[in-house]
C-alpha cells in the first residue's frame, strides 16, 4: 500500500514534469508519514535529517570542484587547440574530422566530468569546422553528441562520484581507474561507425583542401590542455592528492592556463564561470539530498524487497537479470539524465547487486555506460540536445546517423558486461 503510494506519486509527478527532486521529496516524505502514524509529526523530521546527511559528505565535495574545473576548461580555449593538434596528427581527408571530434571529446573528458558541458565545448569548435568541410549538420551533431558521452566514463566523472557516494564498497579512485579502458573502448566504438559513415556517404569531401596545422606548433599550443588530465589522474595515482584536492589543483591550473597562457578568461568571466558551476552543482546535489529521503523510506520500509523478489523469481539468473536491467536503464536513459538515474534507481539496484554478487565497481561502470548511451539516444538526450542546438538542427534529423553510433556503443557496453576484466583489470593492477 505505502509502496504503491510512494511509487505512484513519485513517477506520476516526475512524468508530469515536476522537478525530479521535488517528486522524490514528496513521495519519500509522504511514505514516511504513512509509515509512522503514531510518531510525533509522523516521523517526517527524518526528511530534513536525511536531506542534510545525504549532501553533507566530505567525498562529495569532489563533485562541485570537478564541475568548476569543467566550467573553467570550457572557456580556457583548450578545446580549439586540442582540435588543431588532433588534426595535425590525423591529417586531412574525408572522415578525419569526425575522428578528431571523438578524440578531442575523450581528451576533454579527462578534464571535465559532465557530458553536456563536453558537448558544448567540443561542439562549439567542431560543428562549424565540420560544416566548412562539408559534413551535413545532423551528422556533425550526432558525432559530437555521441563523443561527449564518453566523458562520463573517462575520469574525472560526476556520475562516478555520485555512484561512489551512494554505493558502499566502490571508492572514487577505483571507479575512476575502472572507467578508463571502457571509456577508450566506447571512443573506438564511435570512431569506427563515424569514419565508416563518412566514407560510405562521401561526407566531408571538402576536407582534403583545408590546410593541415603544423605539428610541432600545435603540439606546443595544445600541451597546456593535454597536461591537465595527466596532472589530475597522475596526481591522484601518485598519492599526492585526494580526488577533491586534485580537482582544486586543476581549478588553479585551469585558471592559470585560461587567464595567463591562452588569455581567454578575463577577470569579468570569473563571475560567469563560478555562477554556472554553482548552478550545475546545486541542481545535481539538491536532487541527491532529496533522493536520500526517498532512499530512506525505501530502505527502512523494505519497499525494494517485493521488486527484488519478483526479479529473482523470474529465474533469469545473473546474466539474464543484467540484460533485463540493461534494457530498462537504456529506456529510462532516453528520458532522464545519467546522474538522476543513479540517484533514483540505485536504492532499488543495490539489493539486486548484492543478490547476484556483482562487483560494485564493475556494476558502476556498466550502469554508467548504459546511461551514457541514453545521453545521445533520441528523443530526450542531453548531449545530443546541446549539439543540435549548436548545429541548428532538430533532434529528429539526427536519427538516421545517430542510430549507428548507438548500436556500436551498446556493443561496447555488452563487451564490458561479458568481460568484467575490461573494467576491473586496471583498478586491480593499481591496487585499489
Amino acid at each position: 500500500m505505502i509502496a504503491a503510494v510512494l511509487f505512484l506519486l513519485f513517477f506520476g509527478l516526475m512524468f508530469l514534469g515536476v522537478p525530479i527532486g521535488v517528486a522524490l521529496g514528496v513521495g519519500g516524505a509522504i511514505a514516511i508519514a504513512l509509515h509512522n502514524p503514531e510518531t510525533m509529526l509522523w516521523g517526517t523530521l527524518a526528511a530534513p535529517q536525511n536531506f542534510y546527511a545525504g549532501i553533507a559528505k566530505y567525498p562529495l565535495l569532489a563533485l562541485p570542484m570537478f564541475v568548476l574545473v569543467g566550467c573553467i576548461f570550457d572557456r580556457s580555449g583548450v578545446a580549439r587547440r586540442m582540435v588543431d593538434f588532433a588534426i595535425a596528427c590525423t591529417g586531412r581527408g574525408p572522415g578525419m574530422l569526425p575522428v578528431v571530434a571523438v578524440l578531442v571529446a575523450m581528451a576533454l573528458g579527462g578534464i571535465s566530468g559532465s557530458g553536456p558541458a563536453n558537448a558544448a565545448a567540443v561542439g562549439g569548435v567542431m560543428i562549424a569546422a565540420m560544416a566548412r568541410a562539408g559534413y551535413p549538420a545532423p551528422f556533425s551533431a550526432s558525432v559530437v553528441g555521441g563523443a561527449a558521452a564518453t566523458d562520463v566514463l573517462i575520469p574525472p566523472s560526476i556520475a562516478f562520484i555520485v555512484y561512489s557516494v551512494m554505493v558502499p564498497g566502490a571508492s572514487v579512485p577505483a571507479l575512476f581507474s575502472a572507467g578508463i579502458l571502457p571509456g577508450v573502448l566506447a571512443g573506438l566504438a564511435l570512431i569506427v561507425p563515424a569514419y565508416w559513415l563518412s566514407r560510405l556517404h562521401g561526407l566531408g569531401g571538402a576536407e582534403r583542401e583545408l590546410p593541415r596545422p603544423p605539428f610541432w606548433r600545435s603540439l606546443r599550443e595544445a600541451s597546456w590542455g593535454l597536461a591537465a588530465p595527466v596532472l589530475i589522474l597522475g596526481g591522484m595515482r601518485a598519492g599526492w592528492f585526494t580526488p577533491t584536492e586534485a580537482a582544486v589543483v586543476a581549478v588553479v591550473y585551469g585558471l592559470f592556463v585560461g587567464m595567463v597562457v591562452h588569455r581567454t578568461i578575463g577577470p569579468r568571466d570569473l563571475w560567469d564561470i563560478f555562477r554556472e558551476a554553482t548552478e550545475i552543482s546545486a541542481v545535481i546535489m539538491l536532487v541527491l539530498g532529496l533522493a536520500a529521503i526517498f532512499a530512506y523510506s525505501v530502505a527502512t520500509q523494505g519497499l525494494a524487497d517485493p521488486l527484488v523478489d519478483a526479479i529473482r523469481d523470474l529465474g533469469l539468473g545473473s546474466a539474464g537479470t543484467l540484460l533485463l536491467l540493461g534494457v530498462l536503464i537504456l529506456v529510462v536513459g532516453m528520458f532522464l539524465d545519467g546522474v538522476s538515474i543513479f540517484m533514483i534507481f540505485l536504492p532499488l539496484l543495490i539489493p539486486l547487486m548484492r543478490l547476484f554478487d556483482w562487483d560494485p565497481v564493475w556494476f558502476g561502470v556498466l550502469l554508467t555506460m548504459l546511461v551514457a548511451v541514453g545521453q545521445f539516444t533520441p528523443p530526450m538526450a542531453v548531449n545530443l540536445m546541446v549539439a543540435c542546438r549548436i548545429a541548428g538542427v532538430r533532434i529528429e534529423q539526427t536519427v538516421p546517423w545517430v542510430g549507428w553510433l548507438v548500436v556500436s556503443f551498446v556493443a561496447a557496453t555488452l563487451l564490458v558486461a561479458f568481460f568484467p576484466g575490461l573494467a576491473l583489470w586496471l583498478p586491480r593492477a593499481l591496487g585499489y
Binding site: I20, L45, P64, D74, R75, V125, D272, E279, V287
Partner: protein, 184 residues
C-alpha cells in the same frame, strides 16, 4: 584568439543577466570551498600540521551552496525534470504543467522549510555541538530552512508568471548544461 564567437557589434555590451542575491551566496560558498581545500593541500605539504578539522566547515558550506544555488535555479526554472510532456504539448498543456510544477515545488519547500526549522530548533534547544570544532551545530544548519523558503518564494514567482499568461513558446525549463554556445 578568443574561442567564443564575438558579438556582431563589438561596441554593444553583452546583455548581462540579473544577479540574484542567493547566487552571490552560492558563488561565495564555492569560492571559499575551493580556497579552503587548496589551503589544506598547501599547508599539508609545507608543514606537518593539518587543519582537516575544517572539513565540517566545508561540508556546511557545500550544503548552503546547494540550497542557495537551488533557489537561483528555481528562479530561472532550471531544475532537472522530464520535459517530454511539456515539449510535445500545446500552449494550454504547457501552461498547466508549468503551474503544477511551480505549485508543487512551492508547497513542498514550505513544508520542508518548516520541518528543517524544527530540526534546527532542536539542535539549538539541546545545545548540540559539532564533532570537530565543537561549535553550536545550528550555526551550520540554520541556513537550510531559510534558503528553502527562498526556493518556495522563487517557485511562487514562477507560478505567478505562469498564471499571468501562457508561457512564451521559447520558454523551455531546462537544466543548465555548461557554457551557452550562443554566448550570453
Amino acid at each position: 584568439m578568443p574561442d567564443r564567437p564575438e558579438p556582431a557589434e563589438p561596441a554593444a555590451p553583452r546583455p548581462r543577466r540579473r544577479v540574484l542575491p542567493e547566487e552571490v551566496i552560492a558563488v561565495v560558498c564555492m569560492a571559499v570551498l575551493a580556497l579552503l581545500t587548496l589551503a589544506n593541500v598547501v599547508v599539508r605539504y609545507l608543514t606537518d600540521r593539518s587543519f582537516a578539522s575544517t572539513e565540517e566547515v566545508s561540508i556546511a558550506l557545500m550544503v548552503i551552496m546547494t540550497v542557495a544555488g537551488a533557489s537561483a535555479a528555481a528562479a530561472r526554472d532550471r531544475h532537472i525534470r522530464i520535459q517530454y510532456l511539456y515539449e510535445t504539448g500545446t500552449a494550454r498543456r504547457r501552461h498547466r504543467l508549468a503551474l503544477l510544477s511551480a505549485v508543487s515545488t512551492a508547497v513542498f519547500f514550505v513544508v520542508f522549510a518548516l520541518l528543517s526549522a524544527r530540526v534546527v530548533w532542536d539542535e539549538y534547544r539541546y545545545q548540540e555541538t559539532s564533532m570537530a570544532l565543537g561549535v553550536p551545530r545550528w550555526w551550520y544548519t540554520v541556513w537550510v530552512p531559510a534558503l528553502c523558503l527562498a526556493i518556495a518564494a522563487r517557485a511562487v514567482g514562477v507560478a505567478r508568471r505562469a498564471l499571468r499568461g501562457p508561457m512564451p513558446p521559447d520558454h523551455v525549463p531546462a537544466p543548465p548544461v555548461g557554457q551557452d554556445p550562443a554566448g550570453r
